[in-house]
C-alpha cells in the first residue's frame, strides 16, 4: 500500500524552500522571490494534502484524531489560511515567520513523534460523531488563524524595531501589519468558539456532561480566554499595537503548548479526567 511518508518529505522540502524564499523577500524586498515563496507554499500544501489523503485511506477514516494526524492537518490549515490572508491583504512579509511555524509543527509530526504515534488506527466508537468532526474543524481553523496572527505579530515587532533604528525599511507599513494581525485573531476566535461549542455538545452526546474541567477542555479554554482578552484589550485606548503583536506571538506559544502538551499532560498528570485516558480506561 502507498505510504504517506514520501509526500510528507516533499512537502517538508517545499515548506523549507518557501521559508527561505519569504525570508529573502523580507530582507531584500524582491517581489519575484516572494512570489516563489507563495507558489512553493501552495505546492507544499497540495502535496501535504495528498499525503493526508493517502493516510486517510490507510486509516479508514477521514477525521484526524491522533497527535500525528492532527499535527499534519494543523500544518495544512496554517499554510492554507496564511495563503488566503496573504491573498486578501496582498502582503507577503509575514510569510517567513508563518512558514517557520509550519516547519516547526511539521518537524514535530514527522521527525519527533514516536513511530507508534504514526500508526493509522481505526476510529474509537465515541469519535464517530459529526459533532466531534465539527469540533476538530473549528479548532484547526482557529489555530491556523492564530498561527498567522503569530507570524504577523512577529513581523510587526521586527518592523517596529527596524523602523526605530533606520526610520524607514523594507517592511510593510506598521498599520497594515497590525490590521492583518487583528483580522487573523478576529477571524480565528469565532472558529475556536465553534470548536469549543461543538466539543461540548459532543461530550454531552457521549457522556451527558458538556463540561467537566478535564485537561483537554482547559487546554482549549485557555487560548479562547487569552484571545478574547486580547480583543478586549484592543478596545482599550492605551493598549498599543506593539503589545497586541506581542500578545499574538505569545498566544500562539500557549496554543502550541496546549495543542501538543495536552497529550503529554493527559498521560502524565491528569490521568483521572482527561478524555484520551478516559477512552483508554473505559474502552470507548
Amino acid at each position: 500500500m502507498v505510504d504517506e511518508v514520501p509526500f510528507l518529505g516533499v512537502a517538508y522540502a517545499c515548506f523549507l524552500i518557501a521559508t527561505v524564499a519569504y525570508a529573502i523577500h523580507l530582507a531584500k524586498g524582491d517581489r519575484e522571490i516572494g512570489r516563489a515563496g507563495t507558489w512553493t507554499s501552495l505546492l507544499g500544501a497540495v502535496i501535504l494534502a495528498g499525503g493526508l489523503l493517502v493516510h486517510t485511506v490507510r486509516a479508514g477514516h477521514w477525521l484526524p484524531v491522533g497527535i500525528y494526524e492532527l499535527s499534519l492537518t494543523l500544518t495544512l490549515a496554517i499554510v492554507s489560511l496564511y495563503l488566503l490572508m496573504e491573498h486578501l491583504a496582498r502582503i507577503r512579509g509575514a510569510g517567513a515567520f508563518v512558514m517557520a511555524l509550519v516547519l516547526l509543527v511539521h518537524t514535530y509530526a514527522i521527525l519527533l513523534l514516536p513511530p507508534t504515534a504514526r500508526l493509522a488506527e481505526p476510529l474509537a466508537p465515541a469519535l464517530r460523531s459529526p459533532w466531534f468532526g465539527l469540533h476538530i474543524l473549528g479548532m484547526l481553523v482557529a489555530y491556523g488563524f492564530f498561527a498567522v496572527a503569530c507570524g504577523t505579530g512577529l513581523l510587526y515587532l521586527c518592523a517596529n524595531v527596524a523602523l526605530a533604528r533606520e526610520g524607514v525599511g523594507i517592511f510593510p507599513p506598521l498599520e497594515v501589519v497590525d490590521g492583518l494581525n487583528y483580522r487573523a485573531v478576529a477571524y480565528g476566535l469565532p472558529w475556536l468558539t465553534v470548536g469549543l461549542a461543538a466539543g461540548s455538545w459532543w461530550a454531552w452526546q457521549v457522556w451527558g456532561s458538556y463540561w467537566h474541567w478535564s485537561s483537554r477542555e482547559v487546554c482549549i479554554l485557555g487560548p479562547w480566554l487569552i484571545y478574547a482578552a486580547s480583543l478586549h484589550l484592543r478596545r482599550w485606548g492605551r493598549w498599543s499595537a506593539r503589545r497586541s503583536a506581542l500578545f499574538s506571538a505569545l498566544g500562539f506559544v500557549v496554543v502550541l503548548l496546549t495543542f501538543l502538551g495536552g497529550y503529554v499532560l493527559a498521560g502524565e498528570s491528569d490521568a483521572i479526567s482527561s478524555l484520551p485516558v478516559y477512552f483508554r480506561n473505559n474502552g470507548v
Binding site: S200, V206, W207, G208, N282
Partner: protein, 473 residues
C-alpha cells in the same frame, strides 16, 4: 486691583456605585479577569486533580492519593491545603468565575444602555470639522442633479453597509450609513455567556446525575428522583474492527413504568431520553457473575468488595482495562477470592480473555487455590462449588439536566455573535451632497472602530464605487 473671582470648576460627583459600575463594565477589567481565569485554570492541568466527588471510586481515589503523595512528598499537604488538587472546586477559583460573571453582566447592561441611543440618535448631518476629523475622507464632483444622485448613493451605501439615513436641508443633502447590527451582535456573545451561566445555575439546582450505573444482562435499576421507572438491562452488542478493537457497541434496555414496557437502544453518541431523563452508555466491559453452594447444595452468601455492596447469593464483578483485578469474600468459609482479568495470555496458551482465580483462607499469604479460568465454568474450593458465568456489562450514566436547551441557546448566541461581530467591522459613513454651479459636489467621510488599515482600503473601494456609480448614471 480687584481680581475677578471665577467660580471653581466643580467636578462631577462620583459616588462609590458609579465608580464600581465603571470598574466592572470596563474592558480592562474584563481582559484582566479573562487572563486570570486562563492562568489559574492552567494550574488544574499542571497539578493532578483529585477525582471529583461525583465520580469518586475509593480504589481510584486511593490510587490517585498514593501517586500524588509519592510525587509531591512533604509538599503534598501544603499543596492540598492551597486547593491545588481541586482547583476547579476551590473557593478562589469559583470567586474568580463569579467576578467574571459579574463583570459580564454589568458590561452587558452598560452596552444595552448605550446601544439604543447610538442607534436612534445617529447624527446624519455633520459639519466640516467632523468630516476633517474622520479617519478617511474623499471628495468628487459630478454633473448629476442632486436628488437623482442621492438615490444612487443611498442604494450603494445600503448595499455595502446596512442602514442609510437621509436628511435634506437648504444647503444640500446629507446621508449617514452604518452597520448598527454589528454593535448589537457584540451583545449576542455576552448574552449567550450569561444564558450559559444561568443554565449552570439551573442545572446545579434542578439537575442530577447518577454516574457509573453498572448493569449486567437481566439486572434492573430503579431510576428514582421522582421517576417511578425501572431500567432493565437486556443485552449488549459489540461490533469490532478487523483488528479486534471496538467499532461500536449498543445496549438494549427496557423501561418499565406503570405496567408498560418500552424497549430502547442506547448507543455511543446516541443517548436515550425518557421523560426528561437521558441515559448514556459510557463504557462496557467483561463481567463475571459468581455464585457458590456448599457440600449440601445450599447457596453460600458472598460479599463483593465494591463500594456499598451487600452480601448476596450472586455477585457480579465488572472488570476494567487490561489487567484489572476484583475480589469477593465468602464470610462463612473465611475465604477471599482474587480474580485477575487478562485480555490474553499467549505465554500460558490463552489467546483470548482469561481469568486468574486465586483463593486465600484467613490471613494466609499462600493461596489455597490458583488456576486460570477461560470461560464460564465451575471449580471446587474447600468443599464448596463455585460457578463463574462470563458476560458483558454496560456502564450507564443517567442524567437529568433541565437547562440543556439553555446551554444550546447560549452557545448558538455566542457563535452567531462572534461571527457577526468579528467578521464585520462596525463603521460609520457620512456623505454631504451640495450643488455648486453646474457641478454637484459629494464629500465622503468614514470612521471604523477597529482595523483602520483595513477600513482605509475598504473606504477607498467604496469611494471609487460611489464615484463610478454617480458618473455612470
Amino acid at each position: 486691583m480687584i481680581n475677578e473671582i471665577t467660580p471653581a470648576k466643580i467636578p462631577r460627583e462620583r459616588d462609590i456605585l458609579d465608580t464600581l459600575w465603571r470598574l466592572f463594565s470596563s474592558t480592562q477589567l474584563a481582559a484582566v479577569v479573562l487572563l486570570a481565569v486562563a492562568s489559574v485554570s492552567a494550574l488544574g492541568v499542571l497539578f493532578p486533580q483529585a477525582p471529583s466527588q461525583a465520580t469518586r471510586d475509593s480504589a481510584v481515589y486511593a490510587q490517585w492519593l498514593v501517586s500524588s503523595q509519592g510525587r509531591y512528598g512533604s509538599w503534598f499537604d501544603f499543596l492540598d491545603t492551597m486547593g491545588l488538587f481541586d482547583v476547579y472546586g476551590s473557593w478562589w477559583f469559583r470567586s474568580l468565575l463569579a467576578l467574571l460573571a459579574f463583570s459580564l453582566i454589568i458590561s452587558t447592561a452598560e452596552r444595552v444602555a448605550s446601544l439604543w441611543p447610538s442607534i436612534s440618535q445617529a447624527g446624519v448631518k455633520q459639519g466640516d470639522d467632523s468630516f476633517a476629523d474622520a479617519s478617511k475622507q474623499a471628495v468628487f464632483s459630478v454633473d448629476q442633479p442632486v436628488e437623482q444622485l442621492v438615490e444612487r448613493l443611498k442604494t450603494v451605501l445600503t448595499r455595502r453597509l446596512c442602514r442609510t439615513l437621509v436628511e435634506r436641508e437648504e444647503g444640500g443633502v446629507y446621508l449617514y450609513a452604518d452597520r448598527f447590527w454589528v454593535e448589537a451582535a457584540a451583545l449576542l456573545g455576552h448574552i449567550g455567556l450569561i444564558v450559559i451561566l444561568a443554565a449552570v445555575v439551573v442545572t446545579n439546582r434542578l439537575g442530577w446525575q447518577e454516574d457509573a450505573v453498572t448493569l449486567s444482562p437481566g439486572q434492573s435499576y430503579e431510576v428514582g428522583h421522582g421517576l417511578d421507572a425501572v431500567l432493565r438491562f437486556e443485552k449488549l452488542e459489540l461490533d469490532t474492527y478487523p483488528d479486534g478493537s471496538p467499532r461500536d457497541y449498543r445496549t438494549y434496555v427496557q423501561i418499565i413504568e406503570d405496567d408498560t414496557e418500552v424497549e430502547q437502544l442506547i448507543g455511543v453518541n446516541r443517548p436515550f431520553s425518557y421523560r426528561g431523563v437521558s441515559f448514556y452508555q459510557i463504557s462496557h466491559g467483561m463481567a463475571v457473575a459468581v455464585k457458590a453452594s456448599d457440600q449440601d447444595g445450599q447457596p453460600l452468601v458472598l460479599q463483593s468488595f465494591a463500594d456499598g455492596a451487600e452480601t448476596a447469593a450472586v455477585v457480579s464483578l465488572p472488570f476494567w482495562g487490561h489487567q484489572s483485578e476484583r475480589h469477593f469474600a465468602v464470610p462463612d468459609q473465611d475465604i477471599v477470592f482474587q480474580l485477575v482479568f487478562y485480555q490474553s495470555l499467549p505465554g500460558h496458551g490463552y489467546d483470548g480473555p482469561v481469568f486468574l482465580v486465586q483463593a486465600y483462607r484467613g490471613s494466609a499469604i499462600e493461596p489455597i487455590y490458583s488456576d486460570f479460568v477461560e470461560r464460564s465454568s465451575s471449580f471446587k474450593v474447600g468443599g464448596a462449588t463455585y460457578q463463574l458465568a462470563l458476560d458483558q456489562y454496560s456502564v450507564l450514566r443517567i442524567v437529568r439536566d433541565p437547562a440543556i436547551a439553555l446551554v444550546v441557546l447560549g452557545l448558538l448566541l455566542i457563535i452567531v455573535g462572534h461571527f457577526l461581530w468579528l467578521y464585520w467591522s462596525p463603521m460609520r459613513f457620512w456623505v454631504a451632497v451640495s450643488e455648486k454651479g453646474d457641478k454637484t459636489t459629494v464629500k465622503l467621510a468614514g470612521t471604523a472602530e477597529r482595523d483602520e488599515a483595513g477600513f482605509a482600503s475598504w473606504f477607498d473601494g467604496l469611494a471609487q464605487e460611489m464615484e463610478k456609480e454617480s458618473k455612470d448614471g
